[in-house]
């Protein structure tokens, strides 16, 4: 079957969507959240109609999981049956309500520690980032789904300059009081990665179509765990692309980039 041309953001949305199970409770953040919103919108239409999706403003019905400009647009706070204030959404996160929630990052290390604060010394950073947003709270959800917009040695680093969200090491998660599952899936423009249970280190799960294992390792500043056979990330199916473009992203926000395939 011929696969349609797609953008990397569309592929990333499909990868996350496939990880979301029917009946789960998940959350999309309020900041820089195009791919998360699209993937949740795709999942509820494609295979997870009974998933409960929250945005920072509360539960979002499937018909509102449509990309407008930003996640907290008025479109997602009208016609809802209930709304939640910002303090209450954090109550729900901390008490373990959610199976998954999304996190972005400007640096991620081999254990999945994520930095959104800045590059360099904290007091006088070379580059001040946006800030942690809510990702430090996500260590109380089941799976943290991490999307990274650029796969390069400056993003995939040996050690993050600031820990916004703690990963799987070198610390003991239990001793830190972290009750959630931690970073679970990392999707970049080159590959899908996850974490080896025993060592807590990042592992290559699949490379996107046209990308080599060597390329991924070269663009990563630490040594990845690379299994003997690394599959190719399945490209978006016809059905996924149709749902994405017709129902989730009619404005084409995810298509504002180069097409592949």
């Amino acid at each position: 079957m011929e696969t349609p041309a797609y953008t990397v953001s569309e592929l990333m949305a499909c990868v996350f969507s496939r990880d979301m199970q029917d009946g789960e409770r998940g959350g999309i953040p309020g900041v820089r959240s195009e791919v998360p919103l699209a993937s949740a919108g795709l999942a509820v239409r494609h295979h997870a109609p009974n998933a409960t999706i929250f945005s920072p403003s509360g539960p979002v019905a499937a018909e509102q999981l449509v990309m407008t400009g930003t996640t907290t647009d008025y479109e997602r706070t009208t016609g809802v049956a209930s709304m939640i204030a910002l303090d209450e959404i954090f109550d729900l996160i901390h008490r373990g309500t959610f199976d998954w929630w999304f996190a972005g990052g400007m640096q991620i290390d081999q254990y999945g520690n994520i930095n959104l604060v800045g590059i360099g010394d904290w007091k006088r950073p070379k580059l001040r980032g946006p800030g942690t947003a809510g990702i430090a709270s996500e260590n109380f959800v089941g799976r943290i789904l991490v999307w990274i917009n650029e796969h390069s040695p400056r993003m995939f680093v040996k050690k993050v300059d600031f820990v916004s969200c703690a990963g799987h090491g070198p610390h003991d998660r239990k001793a830190l009081g972290l009750r959630g599952g931690g970073p679970y899936l990392v999707v970049s423009p080159l590959a899908v990665l996850d974490f080896e249970k025993k060592s807590g280190r990042m592992r290559l799960r699949s490379v996107h179509p046209g990308v080599t294992v060597k390329q991924v390792q070269e663009n990563t500043d630490f040594e990845l765990i690379i299994p003997e056979n690394v599959p190719t990330t399945p490209p978006p199916s016809d059905e996924e692309i149709t749902i994405l473009r017709k129902q989730v992203d009619p404005l084409g926000i995810l298509r504002e980039e180069e097409l592949y395939g």
């Binding site: 309020g30 900041v31 820089r32 195009e34 920072p56 403003s57 509360g58 400009g69 930003t70 996640t71 907290t72 647009d73 008025y74 706070t77 009208t78 709304m83 204030a85 910002l86 303090d87 954090f90 996160i93 901390h94 959104l116 604060v117 800045g118 904290w122 007091k123 006088r124 950073p125 070379k126 580059l127 001040r128 980032g129 946006p130 800030g131 942690t132 947003a133 809510g134 990702i135 430090a136 709270s137 260590n139 109380f140 600031f162 820990v163 916004s164 969200c165 703690a166 610390h171 998660r173 001793a175 830190l176 009081g177 972290l178 009750r179 926000i253």
Partner: protein
């Protein structure tokens, strides 16, 4: 006092804020941001402010930073969503060391404001556990042991605003202010504050807000001022009235990136002493467009 008329000009409303005050900003990112209020603070050349971003913030704190008003800030996320991953003046202020940071997760800001609301000196939270926050701000955050079961928690010191600034769709003259969209963190930010300054699209009779009391996010007892400022959230959105102006947001960021920000301030802030003059400096068509979604 019940029934007190607190309606005044924006200039008068903002004039009560002294230099060095702790000021919380309401809204969320590009929604319901108190932009007219921050422009007025810049005009009045407030200095040494301690700004608490009650929720992720954007042009509001950035304009204050660019105008030299900010000494310290409680922040969790400063950006303009996909229009700008970081904000230029705030970023520069932090990089240059002129703005001191209290580094937070949104859950930690919630905890700090909740402690202030409750009148307790600190509150334990799960937010921030595992992160570097207590390392960089030990005066604000400490790892503590739950006294009952011994589990770790993060103690967050109370964050008490002298003033909270919010922008709403409606308010009555006493200061009962309402959103029809998402209130974000406005209710908590108002309950935590000593005093609240409301800017609003429209001052309405009391019976209008009384028809839907659950929408009210303020409690008139601590509202110090109500200023009617149509388009007071522009270029961010006022939910239920107008969208954010993408073009104006991009123009703002471009001005902040270069040497043009002084000119931006001169044109749209210092040289535009009222909301009417500000709107003239932008062009009336832009306001109609964000309200109607088309050229008018």
């Amino acid at each position: 006092m019940a029934g007190t008329n607190k309606v005044m000009s924006l200039k008068e409303a903002i004039s009560v804020i002294p230099d060095g005050a702790t000021v919380a900003l309401g809204g969320f990112l590009l929604q319901n941001k108190p932009m007219a209020a921050t422009r007025e603070m810049a005009r009045q050349r407030k200095r040494g402010l301690f700004v608490i971003c009650a929720a992720p913030s954007s042009l509001d704190i950035d304009l204050l930073a660019g105008a030299g008003c900010v000494a310290r800030a409680v922040v969790q996320s400063i950006s303009a969503e996909r229009f700008g991953p970081t904000m230029p003046n705030f970023r520069k202020g932090v990089q240059d060391g002129t703005i001191e940071i209290v580094e937070c997760d949104q859950g930690m800001v919630v905890a700090g404001l909740t402690a202030a609301k409750k009148g307790v000196p600190f509150i334990p939270t799960m937010a921030g556990l595992g992160g570097d926050f207590p390392k960089v701000n030990p005066d604000w955050f400490k790892i503590m042991q739950d006294p009952f079961f011994g589990e770790p928690a993060l103690a967050v010191r109370a964050m008490k605003p002298d003033f909270t600034l919010i922008h709403t769709l409606l308010a009555d003259s006493e200061g009962n202010a309402q959103h029809i969209g998402w209130p974000a963190n406005d209710r908590l930010a108002c309950l935590a504050a000593d005093r609240v300054i409301v800017t609003t699209e429209e001052v309405v009779p009391r019976q209008v807000v009384a028809a839907q009391p659950t929408r009210t996010v303020t409690f008139a007892y601590n509202v110090a001022a109500v200023a009617a400022v149509p388009y007071g959230a522009y270029p961010t959105a006022c939910q239920g009235r107008y969208r954010y102006d993408e073009e104006a947001i991009r123009d703002y960021i471009a001005a902040g990136r270069g040497l043009a920000f002084e000119r931006y301030l001169e044109k749209h802030v210092y040289g535009a002493p009222t909301q009417a003059k500000y709107m003239e400096s932008i062009g009336i068509g832009r306001f109609l467009k964000v309200q109607t979604g088309r050229e008018c």
